[in-house]
């Protein structure tokens, strides 16, 4: 077992909407909320499609109809849970042999929905670059990054 495994990204938010709507917006409505600067084709996407079934495709579609794969649907369990394979590698390129798992769970809490996200296997991404370092901007950023990774580091 690889001892260098940075902890998965885990997020938990409360969405003031019913479970079915939260699930629907996340999946069928992804093109409406995905941040437009995070596209992989040369132009911003017109839509992002999550095919609503296990084994379905996950891709962006541009205004001219060109489709760029992002990954696939590993598990479709509407409206409670969806597991996607995020297959954009460290170069932000689709790689059929590169798979990280993204699990999103939707749980009713009163009239709202608890949405929990886990992005795991992230050690597969590998390295960072000078560009990432510049993007992180500050020495405090690096110190926090080191602290975050500290519990996964080997005994030196």
């Amino acid at each position: 077992m690889n001892q260098i495994e940075p902890a998965p990204i885990r997020k938990s938010i409360l969405v003031n909407a019913p479970q079915e709507r939260a699930f629907q917006v996340f999946t069928a409505g992804m093109g409406g909320w995905w941040r437009p600067e995070h596209h992989i084709a040369k132009t911003p996407f017109a839509d992002v499609v999550v095919e609503p079934r296990t084994g379905g495709r996950w891709f962006e579609r541009d205004k001219d109809g060109t489709e760029c794969e992002w990954g696939k649907v590993l598990a479709w369990d509407a409206p409670r849970r969806v597991v996607l394979a995020w297959q954009l590698n460290a170069e932000w390129k689709y790689d059929p042999d590169f798979i990280t798992e993204l699990e999103i769970r939707f749980t009713t809490e009163g009239s709202a929905t608890r949405v929990e996200l886990e992005h795991r296997d992230i050690e597969k991404f590998g390295a960072t670059s000078a560009a990432v370092r510049a993007a992180l901007d500050s020495t405090e950023g690096w110190e926090r990054a080191l602290a975050v990774f500290a519990n996964a580091a080997p005994k030196a």
Binding site: G29, W34, R35, H38, W92, E123, A135, R144, F149
Partner: protein
């Protein structure tokens, strides 16, 4: 927008990944790494150079030997980038789900 490395396939290469995993157990000199691998010592050195360029490993001198070890900052920085990415993405999703628009 990428969180990319110039050493694109640094960990995709199976031998490099094996070297990286061996170093995860603790710092080692090149000779010790090469002993346990079915590739030549120069090949191991070359792999280490790629890993070093990718910011995944660093080395220090110990007498005449060079000892390699994991550079924890490499993956830590990536993880932090991803962490911020998901914060921003989920903020955007939440706003869409809570809006009155037909978001789906």
């Amino acid at each position: 927008m990428t969180y990319a490395s110039n050493a694109l396939a640094a960990l995709a290469d199976p031998t490099r990944r094996l070297i990286f995993e061996r170093l995860a157990k603790g710092p080692q000199p090149v000779t010790a790494l090469a002993k346990k691998l079915p590739v030549s010592r120069p090949a191991v050195s070359q792999h280490l150079k790629v890993l070093k360029d990718a910011g995944l490993v660093t080395d220090r001198a110990e007498g005449t030997r060079r000892i390699y070890h994991i550079d924890a900052a490499g993956l830590g920085a990536l993880r932090q980038w991803l962490d911020r990415f998901w914060d921003a993405s989920l903020d955007s999703f939440k706003a869409a789900a809570e809006s009155d628009d037909d978001g789906a």
